[in-house]
Amino acid sequence: MREVAVIGIGITKFGELWDSSFREMGIMAGLAALADAKVSSEEVDAMYVGNMSAGRYIEQEHVAALIADYSGLARDHIPATRVEAAGASGGLAIRQAYLAIASGMHDMVVVGGAEKMTDVGDMESNAIQSSAADQQWESVFGATSPSLHAMIARRHMFQYGTTREQIAQVAVKNHLHGSFNPNAQFQREIDLKTVLRSPPVADPLGLFDCAPNSDGAAAVVLCSLDKARRYAEAPIKILASAQASDTLALHSRADICTFEATRFAARNAYKQANIGPQDIQLAEVHDNFTISEILAIEDLGFFEKGKGGKAVEDGLTKLGGQIAVNTSGGLKARGDPIGATGVAQIVELVTQLRNQAGKRQVPNAKYALAQNVGGTGATAIVHILGVA
C-alpha cells in the first residue's frame, strides 16, 4: 500500500445558490482544487464524484461523466465514477480515490462532491433525504430522517439523562464556528433560546437542530505521497481511511444511542494511524442533526458514552476547548449539500493543518479527523489526516 496525500482543495460557498447549476458548482470546486494543487488537467488519472440523489434533485443521473466533461476532461477519457452512500457519499468518494492511489492503480485523482438541493421544495427534499432510511420498513410508515434522529435523541435523553438544552448547544456552537467561515451558509451566531423556540420538526428536534437544505460543491486532489512532494512543500497526509456499515433500518439495532459503524471505522482508523482519540486536536463530524454530533463525539472515543451532551454544554468541543469539533460550522452552519459534505470536511481539515483557517484556526494542529455518516449510521467513513 502506498501512502496518499492531499495536495489541493477547492470549495464553493454553501447555501441557496439560485444562480448556480449542479455542473457549475462541481466544476468551480474541481478547478479551484486543481489550481490550488498547481496540477494541470492532463496530469489527472481519474475522477470520483460523491453525490446522493441528483436523479431526484435535478433529474440528472450519470453525473460523474457530466462533471468530467464540463471540467474539460472528456477528450482525455479518464475514468469518472459516481459514488453514493447517502450522506456519506462524499467521504466514500474520497476513500475510493485513496484506495485507487494506495493500490498503485492511479497516481493523481480528483475527488468532487456536489448536491443541488434547492431546485426542489422542502417537502420533496425531506422525502429524498428520507430515502436513505429503509423505504419499505421505515419511510413507508411516515418515518422521516428527522424523526428517526428525534427518536435517537429521545432515547439518549432517557438512557443517559442528556438534556434538551445540551443537545441544542451543538447548534449554538456550530453557528459560532460558522460565523468565522466565509463559505458557510449561516454566518450568524444564535443563542440557546433561538434553537429551543424554533419551529418543531420532529419532537424534541426543531428547525435549528437540523442541517439546512444546501447547494454546494467541494473538491480535493489526492496524489501518491512520493509524487506529492513535487507539487507541495507540505502535503497533508491521509494517515487512515476506514469505512464500516450497519443495518439499514435503525430499528434493527440493539442500541440506537451508538452508531456501531462509527465505532468500527474509528477503531480501524486509529489503528492505521497508530494514534488514539486523545491525539486528535480537531474533528469534522456528521452533525446532520444536533443529536448526531453528540453520538459522534462519543462513538469516536473523544468522550465516554452518555457524556457527550455534558461535554458540549461545558464548551469542551468549542474552538479553544479540549477538542475543536466542527470548526467549519459543521453541517448545521456550513451547510449540508449532501454529496459535497464529506469532501468539504476534508477541505476543512486540510485548511486547518495548513494553518490557513484564519479566525477559526486551531493552533499547532497535527492530527485531524473526519467522520461522515450515511442514513442513521448504516454507513460511516472515518479519515485521519496529519502533516506529512
Binding site: 419499505q136 420498513w137 413507508v140 410508515f141 424523526s147 427518536m151
Partner: protein, 132 residues
Amino acid sequence: MTTARFWRDNATRYNLMATRCGSCGKVTFPPRHVCPICHRRSMGKMEKFRLSGKGEVYSFTLVHEAPAAFELQKPYIVAMIKMDEGVMMTAQLSDCEYAEVKIGMRVKATLRKIGEEGAGGVIHYGYKFVPE
C-alpha cells in the same frame, strides 16, 4: 409507488410475519432469508411465523415536517416498538394523545390505512399501534 411494489409486502404487513432462525433461534422482522448471526448455516432453516402484535414503546416522536404523502396526517406520532418476541419495528401510534406516550408504554398492532396513491388511487393498509 406502483401497486405491485406495495402489495408484494402485504402478507408481511397485514399479518406481522417474522422469521425465526432454525439454527440459533434469533427472530428477525421483516422476514429474512439469512440469519445475521448464523449466516450460511441458517440457509433453508428460516421459519416464518406470526408475531403476537404486542410490545412496548422503545422511542417515539411527533412528526411535524413530513413528505407530501403524509401532509394530511401531520402532526403524527412515529414510534419504535419493541415486540414481545424481541424484534423492533417502526410504525405510527394511533388512538392516543402524544402527551400520554411514554417509553415502555404497552401497545398492540392494529390494521389501518397507512397511505394512498392520490385521491383516486389504491389505498395502502398496514400496521399501526394503539395502547394495549
